[in-house]
């Protein structure tokens, strides 16, 4: 179907593409929590804060404030705000996971011990290279990482500024979903001594190459991961 045919068909259906809203039509900094909730409700993918600011005309500060309000409002409800670093989405409450999983036919996530350990290392140390994972586990992590990438629980965030420019890995929004976490802050606490050591970056595991002024690796990565190390 050509573009002309497609537009003709669309017009015949009475379903014309929405016109680009003028800047004056956007809520801007008068953006309310309910408008933001409606926008996230129809979104079929997580939206970045910058993208939300562009869509609504609101400032990043307003977006952050309304998201904070929405998170508080939704606490205790069946729908929650899921925060994957810079990106947000609406998701069902983790405690309803069994019921929803039965409805949509999604089996609980089951991983081998090796894959789970690898996933935990990526989750707590992201962004992390394959070598960084192997240093902790003491074995080759190729297969486990490949399996996690295949399951979309882990994603590539970019490349490290190190010899060979190794790939940096981090967790995905699917990881949060599958493990019933609303953000990386919901990860179980690590052993205190180890957690303290993780605050200081591992010199053998360099960070991302040229993270840019905002420090983000959008769309794959985001600055929200930097504090997890």
């Amino acid at each position: 179907m050509t573009d002309v045919e497609r537009s003709a068909a669309t017009a015949a259906d009475g379903d014309e593409a929405p016109a680009e809203p003028a800047a004056a039509d956007l809520p801007g900094d008068t953006l309310t929590e309910s408008l933001l909730e409606a926008l996230l409700f129809v979104a079929e993918r997580p939206l970045g804060r910058r993208e939300l600011a562009t869509l609504t005309g609101a400032s990043p500060e307003t977006i952050d404030a309304r998201l904070g309000d929405l998170e508080v409002t939704l606490a205790g409800r069946g729908i929650r705000l899921l925060v994957d670093g810079d990106r947000v989405a609406l998701a069902t409450a983790p405690e309803a996971g069994l019921l929803i999983g039965r409805y949509v036919g999604r089996e609980p996530t089951r991983l081998s011990a090796a894959t789970l350990e690898t996933l935990a290392i990526v989750a707590y140390r992201q962004p992390v290279t394959k070598a960084g994972v192997e240093r902790v586990r003491g074995v080759d992590a190729e297969y486990a990482l490949r399996s996690l990438l295949h399951r979309r629980l882990v994603v590539e965030l970019g490349r490290a500024d190190a010899p060979g420019r190794p790939i940096l890995y981090g967790t995905s929004v699917d990881f949060l979903e599958r493990f019933g976490l609303l953000s990386l802050g919901d990860l179980p606490l690590l052993d205190a001594a180890v957690a303290e050591r993780l605050v200081t970056p591992d010199p053998a595991d360099p960070g991302p190459a040229d993270p840019g002024p905002a420090g983000d690796l959008d769309p794959a990565g985001d600055p929200g991961r930097a504090g997890i190390r």
Binding site: A120, V136, G138, P188
Partner: protein
């Protein structure tokens, strides 16, 4: 003090009984919990003995570690070098513990970290992530999950009954009837042409050479084979020519490598014309006769 496995209900920490003959870290036979990788094995050895990873002399576990490696099934030894690396460290620690060492200098000569402390730190780090993985997996296995609205979820919901049921299933007899009608109108299948193996015998090729020599002698072998493209025919003709030479029916001459092979008849006194002679290779009972 020695250590013997004690049966415990499944799911509990492996049971261990201590006697006063051996120290627990020296015990080599305990029931190990599940483990993954070389650090996982070492940690399992420590935990199976209910020892504190921060204080246990790691060198004392060398023997148990080697025993455990020896007992691992082949399919779990994919990272053999990693196991060997840890084992070598343990043996080093053990040897240091056995041999007398010079007193440590008042001022350290270098700031090289203690390898045992480094391995212990790796164990602690590994244990932290292993335990975190367990805590992550528990709720997920029990069904705790968040679900976003997305097309794939909509599809899954549809499969789960959120759409109208499918129309009733078709009667298989209808399919059988349709297949019969299709078979009636479909053209008959033409079988592929049959391949018949061709036989080239030395007798045939010998007769061919003889016939050529009757018409004109001498002849050049390459000219005789000029129209032949089948390598087998060429090879059998060449062998037939050699057979005729052996029987002194013909002589051959080649003046240069890759040059023309000139074939001549060898007249024999009192012998009939070669073309009319009984076929020595055609009798079928000559030991050198072969079919190709």
């Amino acid at each position: 003090m020695t250590l013997d496995p004690v049966s415990r209900p499944a799911g509990e920490t492996p049971g261990i009984a201590f006697t006063d003959r051996r120290r627990p870290e020296d015990a080599t036979r305990v029931r190990l919990p599940e483990w993954e990788g070389p650090l996982g094995l070492l940690l399992a050895l420590v935990e199976a003995r209910r020892l504190d990873v921060m204080t246990v002399p790691l060198g004392a576990l060398a023997e148990a570690y080697l025993d455990a490696i020896a007992g691992i099934e082949d399919d779990r030894l994919g990272n053999l070098s990693a196991f060997v690396a840890v084992a070598s460290q343990l043996i080093l620690f053990k040897s240091r513990g056995l041999l007398p060492r010079p007193p440590a200098p008042a001022i350290p000569l270098d700031d090289e970290p203690d390898p045992e402390a480094a391995l212990r730190a790796r164990l602690v780090t590994y244990r932290a992530f292993r335990d975190a993985a367990d805590r992550l997996a528990g709720p997920a296995a029990a069904g705790r999950q968040a679900v976003r609205r997305e097309p794939s979820i909509a599809g899954a919901a549809a499969r789960a009954g959120a759409v109208e049921p499918l129309p009733p299933r078709l009667d298989p007899a209808l399919l059988v009837g349709a297949l019969d009608r299709l078979a009636a109108v479909a053209p008959a299948v033409v079988p592929p042409p049959e391949t018949i193996p061709r036989t080239v015998s030395m007798a045939e090729r010998a007769a061919f050479i003889r016939a050529a020599l009757v018409d004109a002698s001498p002849v050049v072998l390459q000219d005789l084979l000029s129209g032949v493209r089948d390598r087998v025919v060429v090879a059998v003709t060449f062998l037939a020519m050699l057979e005729l030479v052996k029987r002194r029916e013909i002589s051959i001459e080649q003046n240069a490598p890759w040059g023309p092979i000139i074939v001549r008849s060898v007249p024999r006194a009192g012998a009939p014309d070669p073309a009319g002679a009984p076929d020595p290779a055609g009798g079928g009972d000559h030991p050198d006769e072969e079919d190709a």
